[in-house]
Every structure is written in structure tokens, then in C-alpha cells.
């Protein structure tokens, strides 16, 4: 089970702040993105965008990052702080 968190516009589009998801253990972030696109079609096009960053356990992740049981994955729209 992993936790997936949504922020800003992605929270509005999914209508959720976070969800717990059962996914196969030790999959890559690339595979997880495919699962997320199926689970949350409302944000599928955003997951595809290069401007959306994804963090795993609060560190920026890449497509080859391995997702383990208990991880916290967050979908981060382009930042606009400052």
C-alpha cells in the first residue's frame, strides 16, 4: 500500500487530498504513472506533462525511482511560491 498526495490544481481536479493505493511492490515510478493515469483519468494529461514533478518520500523522483510499500508519492504541479 502506498500513499498518493495531490496538491493545488491536482487536488481540485481529483477532488482528493490523498489516497491509499495497492500497487505491486518495487515497481518503477514510470509504471506507477501508468497506474495513476488509469486511476485518475481527470489528471492523466497532467501526469504526462514534463512540468509536473513527482516526489517519493519528499524527494524529487525520476521515472526509474523504485516505489516500495509504505512510500509517500506526491504529484506536484509547477511551483508558484515566492
Amino acid at each position: 500500500m502506498i500513499k498518493v498526495r495531490f496538491f493545488a490544481m491536482l487536488k481540485n481536479k481529483t477532488g482528493k487530498e490523498e489516497v491509499n493505493l495497492s500497487v505491486p511492490d518495487n515497481i518503477t515510478l514510470e509504471k506507477l504513472k501508468a497506474i495513476l493515469k488509469n486511476e485518475f483519468p481527470a489528471i492523466a494529461e497532467f501526469i504526462e506533462r514534463k512540468s509536473i514533478m513527482i516526489s517519493v518520500n519528499q524527494e524529487f523522483a525520476t521515472n526509474t525511482t523504485i516505489i516500495k510499500d509504505g512510500d509517500e508519492v506526491a504529484l506536484l504541479p509547477p511551483f508558484s511560491g515566492g
Binding site: 498526495r5 496538491f7 493545488a8 490544481m9 481540485n12 512540468s51 516526489s55 519528499q58 524529487f60 506526491a74 506536484l76 504541479p77 509547477p78 511551483f79 508558484s80 511560491g81 515566492g82
Partner: protein, 140 residues
């Protein structure tokens, strides 16, 4: 008080400068960047701002910016404060203070830090206009 903070309440610029200056008597130049709530964005009138952050990660990234600034620039201390929640037009949003022996290092570190904050810190701004509320990234 911590030099790096994310908070709802406003900050006092003089107090923040004193906090940074307390690091050393060798400080001879202090440069600050203050970001404030603007009433216009892409031609639209803005009436209110609201900032959301990723608790934990956003604080960590600001700490990381301070540590990298101290490592990569010839500065003595740096403070970073960012506000979250609802912010009225004209109110303070963010303050970066860089302190060095000499001004040039402080200017360079301060400019780098605000650019890096915008690039890597998970904070998002929502603007309220007459047409409704808009997350800023929806209009790249």
C-alpha cells in the same frame, strides 16, 4: 526563532534582519528580497492570494537552499521566511536575507536563493480574480 520558516502570520522585516545579523559581528553587508502580494496578474485584477505548501518537503527545500547558499557563496548567514494561507494585496509573502562581509556576495546569494526557491520549493499560489479562483500554474 529559526532562520528558515514557513508560517501563516506576517513577519517583521527588522526583526528578521536582526536575527540574521546576530550570526556574526563580521557582517558588513545585508541584502534582502521581499516578495509582496500584487493586485495584477496577466492583466487580471487580483483581490486575494492564497498559498498552499507541501508540509515537510517545502521546509526541507528551504533549509537546503540556505545550506547550499552558505556553501556556494561567500556569505555568513541567510534567513528565509515564506508565508502560507490567505494573503491580502500589498501584504508580505516571502523574505530572503543574505548577510556577508561585503555586499557583492550578499547580492549574488540573495538573487540565487529567490530563483532557487521558485524552482524547487513545493509552494503554490492561488489568485482570486473577478472571474473566480485560479491556481497560477493553470496559466503558464
Amino acid at each position: 526563532m529559526d532562520l528558515v520558516r514557513i508560517q501563516k502570520q506576517d513577519f517583521d522585516i527588522n526583526k528578521e534582519v536582526e536575527l540574521v545579523k546576530a550570526a556574526s559581528k563580521s557582517i558588513g553587508g545585508v541584502v534582502s528580497f521581499l516578495g509582496a502580494g500584487r493586485d495584477i496578474s496577466k492583466g487580471e485584477q487580483i483581490t486575494m492570494l492564497d498559498f498552499e505548501h507541501y508540509p515537510g518537503m517545502a521546509e526541507k527545500k528551504l533549509q537546503e537552499i540556505r545550506e547550499r547558499a552558505l556553501k556556494n557563496f561567500n556569505i555568513i548567514e541567510m534567513g528565509i521566511v515564506h508565508r502560507i494561507g490567505e494573503i491580502d494585496i500589498g501584504e508580505n509573502i516571502v523574505l530572503i536575507i543574505a548577510a556577508a562581509q561585503h555586499r557583492n556576495d550578499a547580492f549574488m546569494a540573495c538573487e540565487w536563493a529567490i530563483a532557487e526557491l521558485k524552482r524547487i520549493t513545493p509552494i503554490w499560489k492561488r489568485e482570486t480574480t473577478k472571474k473566480g479562483e485560479v491556481w497560477v500554474e493553470e496559466h503558464p
